[in-house]
């Protein structure tokens, strides 16, 4: 099973790195992303970039941004380019195909995010270190790595699930964007709350245990990951994929 998953990831990687003319994906796109998010932004923000716990919130969105560029292609792209039926006619087990597609998107989204995180520390050390190595405090580093992994799995599983039934890549991207917006509804709704509720929330912020919030958020994300993978697994039916 693992070997089959790795085979799919190998193919996805080859396709991703080999593609030309697209901003997201491809070696050039990855280098631009690394330059902007791994070097330029940390240097603009200075040493505070690595010491603030808010960095976790910032980095948490990056894997979804990255994965969104490739994940819609997972099945919808294969369907659009007429490669899906041949893939399904191979000996690969259903779960290996699904896990390979999700795994490839996670590796891309999470892997590039972690590289950007490390590049930021290196850039800051070079420019602001004065001979000392600047790095994220351990809890923040662990938080970034864990949070980005959970978010990457969430975004990838959601995207692959949408891509399973989408007729075209464009349709998959549109549905994924809408799903992503729905997830952001609570943030957009905050300013619309009645003043009394806002005041109550503001009073509570001072007493919030951020560590507990972080652990709870990680728990919710992990549960969401498991749920999405479970649903994607249930929706993966060779005959449905052929007929769709």
């Amino acid at each position: 099973m693992l070997r089959d998953v790795m085979t799919i990831i190998w193919k996805e990687g080859k396709e991703l790195l080999g593609q030309k003319g697209r901003f997201k994906g491809g070696k050039t796109g990855m280098l631009i992303f690394l330059a902007v998010f791994g070097i330029l932004m940390p240097l603009q923000n200075g040493p505070a970039w690595i010491s603030s716990p808010l960095a976790m919130l910032y980095w948490a969105w990056i894997p979804i941004l990255l994965a969104s560029g490739v994940v819609a292609d997972a099945f919808a792209g294969e369907r659009e380019r007429h490669t899906l039926e041949t893939l399904l006619a191979s000996r690969l087990p259903d779960r290996a195909i699904l896990a390979g597609k999700i795994g490839a998107a996670v590796l891309y989204g999470w892997g590039l995010t972690v590289i950007c995180v490390l590049a930021g520390a290196i850039a800051l050390t070079v420019v602001h270190g004065h001979g000392k190595i600047l790095f994220y405090p351990l809890p923040i580093a662990a938080g970034i790595v864990g949070a980005t992994l959970l978010v990457a799995v969430f975004g990838s599983a959601l995207g692959v699930m949408i891509s399973l039934r989408a007729a075209t890549v464009r349709q998959a991207q549109q549905v994924f964007s809408v799903a992503f917006l729905v997830l952001l509804v609570p943030l957009f709704a905050l300013p619309m709350l009645p003043p009394s509720v806002k005041a109550w929330l503001a009073a509570r912020v001072g007493t919030i245990d951020f560590k507990m919030i972080g652990i709870a958020a990680a728990g919710v994300l992990a549960a969401g990951d498991v749920l999405l993978i479970f649903i994607a697994d249930r929706r993966f039916r060779r005959s449905r994929l052929i007929l769709d």
Binding site: R3, D4, T7, W10, K11, K14, E15, G18, Q19, R81, H82, T83, E85, T86, L87, L88, A89, S90, R91, L92, P93, R238, S239, I242, L243
Partner: protein, 314 residues
């Protein structure tokens, strides 16, 4: 293993109210090229999908390589290769990487993969261009690459769905030659769907003809040709006037008479009476220059089968 590679009994598949395949019962022996023929929309692709376990049958059952398509489809797919309706090539990957991917899927070891890829690409004359993206290739080259992919793991059975469709005559002939030689050399059973009758006649030892999802005939090509086509002669010459044609129609045993530019084609129910026909024409003032025995072609037989079925339906 039984020497029957594919066995179907009453196999059928419906899509909502449309019956794509109905009551298909065939046996495909091992080691031959089996032609599955029919016009567009006859149910050929649906049959391949059912045999590969990609679709569930609505009724009936099928065994491929001894495995049930409902319950052991993964074992069927593990032992067979397929070139389906589309080439299924990853156009952004090189030809070599396309084969590498399917070699990995088939669990070939790295040295095995490398040797087999070289062997197949060399055989098809594609080795020198192995590093190019498959998307840049001509349709004929892509088709050859897709056939190479189907043969990669030396499967016992390969499914080829219209492998020469859309190819120019030279590329099609070259691919047919490759298919015939590879099938013979590797001892692979080939399940070939096509609506190209010439191709079927050249490549296939046995054929099945379907139309609108129903099996019309099955057997060796020669038997179908003999069984379905009436004997005929073609008489070429000049001055085949209405009187001559009318007198010919009066001859016993003639079932069909078609005028062609510069001649006539006469179909007989039983014994062919060439001398009598020539005599009638000459007596009517026609000049007979040439008489040809028209060996019924496979196309004649196929068209008759399909036409008979249409007439029966109407």
């Amino acid at each position: 293993m039984s020497d029957i590679v594919i066995r179907t009994r009453g196999l059928g598949r419906d899509f909502k109210s449309v019956t794509a395949l109905d009551d298909l019962s065939i046996d495909v022996p091992a080691g031959i090229v089996f032609g599955f023929l029919g016009p567009n929309g006859a149910g050929k692709t649906t049959t391949i999908r059912l045999l590969l376990g990609l679709l569930e049958p609505s009724r009936g059952r099928a065994e491929v390589l001894g495995f049930d398509t409902r319950t052991e489809a993964s074992r069927i797919r593990a032992s067979s290769g397929a070139l389906l309706e589309h080439t299924g090539l990853y156009e952004r990957l090189s030809a070599e990487d396309n084969l590498e991917f399917y070699g990995r899927i088939a669990r070939l070891s790295a040295p095995e993969r490398s040797a087999r890829i070289r062997e197949l690409l060399t055989h098809f004359g594609l080795w020198d261009r192995r590093g190019e993206a498959a998307g840049k290739w001509s349709r004929g080259m892509k088709q050859k690459l897709a056939v190479a992919r189907a043969l990669l793991a030396r499967p016992r059975l390969i499914f080829l769905d219209e492998p020469t469709a859309g190819l120019d005559p030279v590329a099609a002939a070259s691919l047919r030659e490759d298919l015939a030689s590879l099938a013979a050399r590797e001892g692979t059973t080939v399940f070939l769907t096509t609506h190209n009758l010439d191709e079927a006649e050249r490549l296939c030892r046995r054929v099945a003809v379907i139309r609108a999802g129903r099996l019309l005939a099955e057997g060796p090509v020669e038997d179908l040709r003999r069984g379905e086509s009436a004997p005929a002669i073609e008489i070429r010459g000049r001055d085949f006037g209405p009187a001559a044609v009318e007198r010919l129609r009066g001859l016993a045993g003639i079932t069909g008479l078609a005028e062609t530019p510069g001649g006539l084609i006469i179909t007989w129910a039983g014994e062919v009476r060439t001398a009598e026909a020539v005599r009638v024409l000459v007596e009517s003032g026609a000049s007979v220059e040439e008489v040809l025995n028209r060996r019924p072609t496979f196309e004649d037989a196929f068209l008759k089968l399909v036409k008979d079925e249409t007439t029966e339906e109407s």
